[in-house]
Symmetry: C2
Subunit: 237 residues, 2 copies
Amino acid sequence: MSLPNEQDPDEIALPDIGKLTGSLAQRVYEALRTAILAMDLPPGTNLKKQLICEQLGVSRSPVTEAITRLAGEGLVEVVPQSGSRVTKFSMSEIHEGAFLREAIELAAVAKVAAERTEEQLSELTRNLRLQALCLEDFDEAGFYREDERMHELIFSFTGYPKLNTLAAAGWVQVNRARQLLLPMRGRAQEAYEEHKVIIDAIRDRDPEKARQAMQKHLSRLVTRLEPLIESRPDLFD
Amino acid sequence: MSLPNEQDPDEIALPDIGKLTGSLAQRVYEALRTAILAMDLPPGTNLKKQLICEQLGVSRSPVTEAITRLAGEGLVEVVPQSGSRVTKFSMSEIHEGAFLREAIELAAVAKVAAERTEEQLSELTRNLRLQALCLEDFDEAGFYREDERMHELIFSFTGYPKLNTLAAAGWVQVNRARQLLLPMRGRAQEAYEEHKVIIDAIRDRDPEKARQAMQKHLSRLVTRLEPLIESRPDLFD
DNA sequence: CTGTGTCAACTAACATGTTAGCATTCCAAT
DNA sequence: ATTGGAATGCTAACATGTTAGTTGACACAG
């Protein structure tokens, strides 16, 4: 009776709500999104509304809205009158996301380099020093957090609040795939050096140098993602 | 009893559905979006779900989803437990949209210039000839259509299908504001000349020249938008 | 063993009822 | 006349019932 490929009793563990704030729909959205990005809900997973409703103790309305939003982000695909599943990776989408992120972030860093204030510069150098501290302590997680923080700072210094959101939206697939990469020995140190060059260029008010440094920095990640399609073909469409 | 500023009996004319295809939610979304972009629903308009439901002959579900999506696009703002209104313009948002569009389109045109095939080039030159025809016939609307078509072609030639969607999403506010501009005498001719330079650069496989030509072309529009905040302050927040 | 058609189970999409928060108004008290 | 506060009316947010279309399994014919 029990087939060899007993796939899923669908017992998924969602990061229980209650701790989160805002409307129910918002909380459900965040819970699902977190689970998807953390690969707790791997690509191909069937999202059963009913099950999610029971598990979170809410009705179908907020769950439906959450799934609709995730579909808009490209993390979930909805098949009319049939079901919703977590999207699989596609190398072309990853490349597209990287292209988009690069386009936006290069423009942003050039603008910031051209117009930066002293205050902004000191906030960036302060962030850089924090990165150095994390490296000294071999605190990978901390370094990752400060890394993301640096990119956020650059976006915010453009004065355009939605830029970060949109860049992140395009970047989502890349970020999700990144979860699969083992942290590479020495990569953090390498990234730190690249960050230094970027911030040096901002200090020098040299937009072109900033662009090039950022471009070099961003191109690294996609390169490291390529082999995934060989090692985990089940996650790609 | 009748106040001097008798504002709105809310009798809004929506482009009736039925002609459209897809789910109800999709159709309602398109209808509302079209009406907003055409300024049939001017900034500040209160969107009353009940009224829209009656007028379109559907229930609140698809209308709610449509409004949610429009809010995600920034065309509508939802005030919890109160109501939804069409967003007013904000010059900073227009600048942000233009910055985003520029970042994406410059990257796109540079990539296309570097990698274009003969076939793509001939499709672009064919489009350019169509533009010339429209100019000869003083067909402003036709020129506008071919103008948009040219930008779409460039996006599609990158091989990244979602690029056009995202650029358009950022561009929405700019496009909406553009409706308010009277067509300027000789502007179409000027735009045509700019298009020619762009396509020349693509022909020469010169990414840097293509970038600069496109940048010049895009910067025109925002400049023309600036005076609006003086002439129509009621539409800005 | 393979291809085809029917049927049952499941799902998204849609409709509608319920709840609770905000705003506006209107009246009363000062 | 001005202010404060209760009451009313409106709305989004949430819950739940209904409809119709898709999928996949199973029986049956070739």
